[in-house]
């Protein structure tokens, strides 16, 4: 693995950006344009939009994001462990079981407290 092996990613990034920019530009130049006040208003199935869309959102979304971050970090710790698990054997197994057990307590706790409900 050398740095040059990452070069394709960088090049794909540039190609993707150019593709998106290029097609939008072509579409912008080719397409007709006809301005209409009604046409440019937000679509709400034909109804006249009431109020602003950017209202305050439910905290439930926020809780899901917190849970995700916690579990994500946890799983990321497991990846290096999984890679060398064969070498570690029973020793590594016990260590990870302690790690998982502690988190399992937390998981059961939030389950019982209703953080996983969406209602």
């Amino acid at each position: 693995m050398e740095l040059i092996d990452y070069l394709p990613i960088f090049i794909l990034l540039i190609i993707a950006v150019l593709f998106v920019g290029g097609t939008i530009l072509v579409s912008h130049m080719v397409g007709r344009r006809k301005y209409g006040k009604e046409k440019m208003s937000p679509y709400e199935s034909g109804m006249i939009p009431v109020g602003d869309a950017r209202r305050r959102f439910s905290v439930k979304f926020y809780v899901v994001a917190i849970l995700f971050v916690i579990f994500d970090i946890e799983v990321v710790f497991m990846y290096p462990w999984a890679v060398i698990f064969k070498k570690l054997g029973v020793f590594g197994f016990v260590e990870m079981m302690i790690f998982i057990a502690i988190l399992l307590v937390g998981f059961i706790y939030i389950w019982k407290k209703g953080a996983l409900e969406w209602a």
């Binding site: 998106v20 440019m40 208003s41 709400e44 995700f68 064969k86 996983l116």
Partner: protein, 369 residues
């Protein structure tokens, strides 16, 4: 890609006059363009295939007018999308509205960098392959929320938020289920994972042990959920939210969201094939060291094997979509957090125990003695 670059530098006389970095650069640009030429028409063609499949499943015909059996429908659709008016609603946040398709498309296109196609065909066989794919595709979430917010439309914003909540909820079981395979291989690299399997089904990780078998389903279900497809399509539930986060998008901006979505279906199928279904493994042996006709033929066989397996899984995604009803939001979250996450954890522990008892022997190896 590195492999081809080295081969060209070694075997073509005239390239030695140019510094090797430039040769690499040129080859990689060409390779990247080829990848784009694969991804975009493939994703486009999938939209057509999906409609035909849907037609068959609902006892109707589906698009069959443009070209023989309608196979050029997606070309016509693409041309139509380009010719459409480029609309940015007045209420929208113009800057973010324009930026969102870039992020969604880049996030989904970059995953192809680490996707294997055959023994030698891979843009970048990274050490962290599978983790890279998860990492890059997480950019898509941000693009989706951005499009929903920028549109300033009730349906779009709600769709974007729901979509983000759903994707992150199902990402946990997804990355957990992959651990079962990593335990067996001890590598995160995509090619390494495929090499650890064999061509015959009993050597696939799917049938390696019962836990890996369950892990495949956990992975695939979560992956389908991350693509926002039925039965997990609450974010763009047509009867409720019109089209979800991309409701306000039209013309080719909409087309880009669409392309990214279908490209993602290919990506999840290809990753599933890599991890669980033996990837490009064929019974043919790939001689090393020489570049003759034989290795190319083996490579081609690998490529065809890989693509067939992948498109079978893509078909399964379509099949699910036209068979199952949609889950409610609360059901969706329940399935994700209360079923998939515990099952994935159980699987992880189970695989680890299996390996402590039997090493990395598979069921087939144990039965065969």
């Amino acid at each position: 890609m590195r492999y081809f670059a080295d081969w060209i530098i070694e075997n073509l006389e005239f390239t030695r006059a140019i510094p090797s970095e430039y040769v690499y650069l040129i080859i990689m640009v060409v390779g990247g363009l080829l990848l784009l030429l694969f991804v975009v028409p493939m994703a486009g063609a999938l939209t057509f295939v999906e409609r035909r499949v849907a037609g068959k499943m609902q006892s109707r015909i589906g698009p069959n007018r443009v070209g023989p059996q309608g196979i050029f429908q997606f070309v016509a659709d693409g041309v139509k999308l380009i010719l459409k008016e480029d609309i940015i609603p007045t209420a929208a946040d113009r800057r973010l509205f324009k930026l969102a398709p870039y992020i969604v498309f880049v996030g989904s296109f970059l995953t192809f960098a680490a996707l294997p196609f055959s023994q030698k065909l891979i843009a970048a066989d990274l050490n962290i392959g599978i983790l890279y794919i998860f990492a890059v595709s997480s950019m898509v979430v941000v693009g989706i929320i951005m499009s929903g917010w920028a549109s300033n439309n009730n349906l779009s914003l709600l769709g974007g938020m729901r979509s983000a909540a759903q994707i992150i909820s199902y990402e946990v079981p997804q990355i957990l289920s992959v651990l079962a395979v990593i335990l067996l291989t001890g590598t995160l690299g995509m090619q390494g994972t495929i090499k650890a399997q064999g061509w015959a089904p009993q050597h696939w990780f799917l049938f390696h042990n019962p836990f890996a078998f369950i892990a495949f389903f956990v992975f695939f279900i979560s992956a389908v959920a991350e693509c926002n497809r039925i039965p997990f399509d609450i974010p763009e539930a047509e009867s409720e939210l019109v089209s979800g986060y991309n409701t306000e998008y039209s013309g080719f901006r909409f087309g880009l969201f669409f392309l990214a979505e279908f490209a993602n279906v290919y990506v999840i199928s290809a990753v599933a094939v890599t991890l669980f279904l033996g990837g490009w493994n064929t019974p043919f042996y790939l001689p090393t060291g020489i570049w003759g006709l034989l290795p190319s033929a083996v490579n081609l066989a690998g490529l065809i094997t890989f693509l067939i397996k992948t498109f079978v899984l893509v078909f399964v995604c379509m099949w699910l979509r036209w068979t199952l009803p949609r889950l409610r939001v609360d059901q969706l979250m329940t399935v994700g957090w209360k079923y998939m996450v515990p099952i994935a954890f159980f699987n992880l522990v189970g695989t680890a125990v299996w390996m402590l008892v039997w090493g990395d022997k598979s069921i087939a190896a144990l039965l065969g003695g």
